[in-house]
């Protein structure tokens, strides 16, 4: 995002004296906070003036009140959602990397999975919620199972492509240097595929959260989804909004944490592959 700098707008010149004291990074932070404040103000205005049905849209302050008054219930719901999410995503990541590596290293397996992947990729796993409820009943196991099924595909697809795209020269060099199968896999194939795998996991973790809350909403199996549904049915819009905001913060926190982990452990991951802003 920050490789390209546009020439400063001429109209901003008069402010340059006061701005000179801030580094570009600080200036960005100030602007980001400003953006959040503006968004909150717009939200406050649109609900206070009744532009939107006031029953549906509560003010930021009321939402904050909703969060405070239902603190413990919210915390329990968040933990339940996180638990199902973590269970599902860990299975998906392990299975996706394992099977993806095996399939990616074999030409026949690669060709044989092509059509299945093309069909499963756009299939919304969310459509399987009713079937998952039928097979596994309501509970954490069902949620985690469906989450891992949904999150498996991005990890698997990216691992497969990443493993397939390892430079042949690199592989041959490693072979000449005497690296054998497992060593070759750990030292060469997986590290060079890891940026692709990381992108897959990045997609998978937010998809997994979407699936988790969807199961909770449709099946009423506890967690944040059910919390919000109950608040809506109980006609407590401020509590409902509080839950939604917490859901957003949860999603945001998870993706930030993962981005940090990637920067920390896969520094060779190039900018070009990154798809997020």
């Amino acid at each position: 995002m920050n490789q390209v700098r546009f020439a400063p707008d001429q109209s901003e010149r008069p402010l340059e004296l006061t701005r000179a004291r801030l580094t570009p990074r600080q200036r960005r932070t100030v602007r980001q906070i400003g953006g959040i404040l503006v968004a909150l103000a717009l939200w406050e205005l649109s609900s206070a003036t009744g532009a939107v049905n006031s029953n549906a849209l509560v003010t930021p302050l009321a939402t904050f009140g909703g969060i405070i008054s239902h603190m413990t219930a919210l915390a329990t719901a968040l933990v339940a959602t996180l638990e199902a999410w973590a269970l599902g995503i860990s299975v998906a990541v392990v299975a996706g990397i394992l099977i993806g590596t095996l399939v990616g290293r074999s030409q026949i397996a690669d060709a044989a999975t092509e059509t299945i992947v093309r069909m499963m990729r756009p299939l919304p796993s969310l459509a399987l919620i009713p079937i998952a409820i039928l097979i596994a009943g309501l509970g954490v196991r069902m949620t985690a199972g469906l989450v891992s099924f949904a999150a498996f595909w991005p990890v698997f697809i990216n691992t497969r492509v990443g493993v397939r795209q390892v430079d042949n020269t690199v592989l041959e060099t490693a072979a000449v240097l005497g690296l054998k199968k497992l060593n070759l896999l750990y030292r060469v194939v997986l590290p060079s595929a890891s940026p692709m795998i990381a992108s897959g996991i990045q997609v998978a973790i937010s998809l997994a959260l979407v699936v988790t809350v969807s199961v909770e909403l449709v099946g009423g199996t506890g967690g944040l989804g059910e919390f919000i549904l109950l608040a809506q049915q109980g006609n407590e819009p401020s509590v409902m909004f509080g839950g939604i905001i917490m859901g957003g913060l949860l999603g945001w926190g998870i993706s930030r944490l993962f981005a940090w982990i990637i920067d920390r452990f896969i520094p060779w991951r190039t900018q070009g592959i990154r798809t997020n802003a």
Binding site: V4, G35, E114, P124, A127, I157, V210, V213, G251
Partner: protein
């Protein structure tokens, strides 16, 4: 000589395709086998599910559920495309706007969208408009973010060259900025298309009143288990058709950039 070489690549492509379909057949056979051995009502055989899917398509469900779902997805996707590309261009082009909006955009796109369905139900009621609104709230983000990224990372030399040649304003936009950002925009559009389908299903399950998501959930609740599987198969086929159509459309529209950029893979 050339024709033989072409023949060879074509043959290799065909055999790859054949193996691909063979993989699908194997999965279907395993499904069939597993269902026959387990013999439970919650897991019908592959053939029974296919028959159920055929029944869904040929029954009144086509008109009552499938077509409304397609309409909602199309409308929601189109609205997201228009808003997403416009806003993405502005955000990508002006660094100030990018800084001001980045935190809010980051939050909004991390929010698991199905959580918004209860609000959408309160605002719009149980109908198609609610589904469209939910689709837009989810599908807009991949488009917006990819457009902004594509626009902000355009090679400055390219813009400078175009300006030197006297292109500016609208011409610069249509001839340089939009084409240069289009590969990224298309990547975002493809994600948004599958997101639209997914969110459509959940919104309809929770309160669409009709539609394919409603159909699947309803079939399960009324113990029409085969119907539920049939609905999922129909949806899977629709997703596959959408994705294939989109890819061929993209290939045609972006044919000029094939070969200019490396490593465009097909997954």
């Amino acid at each position: 000589m050339i024709s033989r070489k072409q023949n060879q690549t074509r043959q290799r492509k065909l055999s790859r395709l054949a193996v691909g379909w063979l993989g699908l057949v194997i999965v279907a056979a395993l499904w069939q086998l597993l269902a026959v051995t387990l013999h439970t009502s919650v897991f019908p055989t592959f053939i029974a599910s296919l028959v159920a899917a055929w029944k869904v398509v040929t029954s009144s469900a086509l008109r009552v559920d499938i077509i409304p779902s397609l309409e909602r997805t199309a409308v929601g996707f189109l609205i997201s495309v228009i808003i997403g590309i416009t806003a993405g261009m502005i955000i990508g082009h002006y660094e100030v706007v990018r800084d001001w909006t980045s935190a809010v955009v980051d939050f909004m796109r991390s929010l698991p969208t199905p959580l918004l369905v209860p609000i959408a139900i309160v605002i719009f009621g149980i109908n198609g408009r609610m589904v469209v609104a939910t689709i837009v709230s989810a599908a807009i983000w991949p488009i917006l973010i990819n457009t902004a990224n594509g626009t902000s990372t355009i090679e400055p030399t390219m813009i400078d060259t175009a300006t030197t040649y006297g292109l500016r304003g609208r011409t610069l936009f249509w001839r340089v900025v939009l084409p240069a950002a289009s590969p990224q925009i298309f990547a975002g559009l493809r994600i948004a298309l599958s997101v639209s389908l997914a969110v459509m299903v959940v919104a309809e399950m929770l309160g669409g009143g009709s539609g394919i998501g409603y159909f699947i959930a309803n079939a399960q609740q009324s113990f029409n288990i085969k119907g539920s599987y049939g609905g999922v198969i129909v949806l899977g086929c629709l997703g596959w058709i959408f994705d294939t159509l989109f890819l061929s459309f993209e290939r045609r529209l972006l044919s000029w950039q094939r070969g200019t950029l490396g490593g465009s893979f097909d997954v």
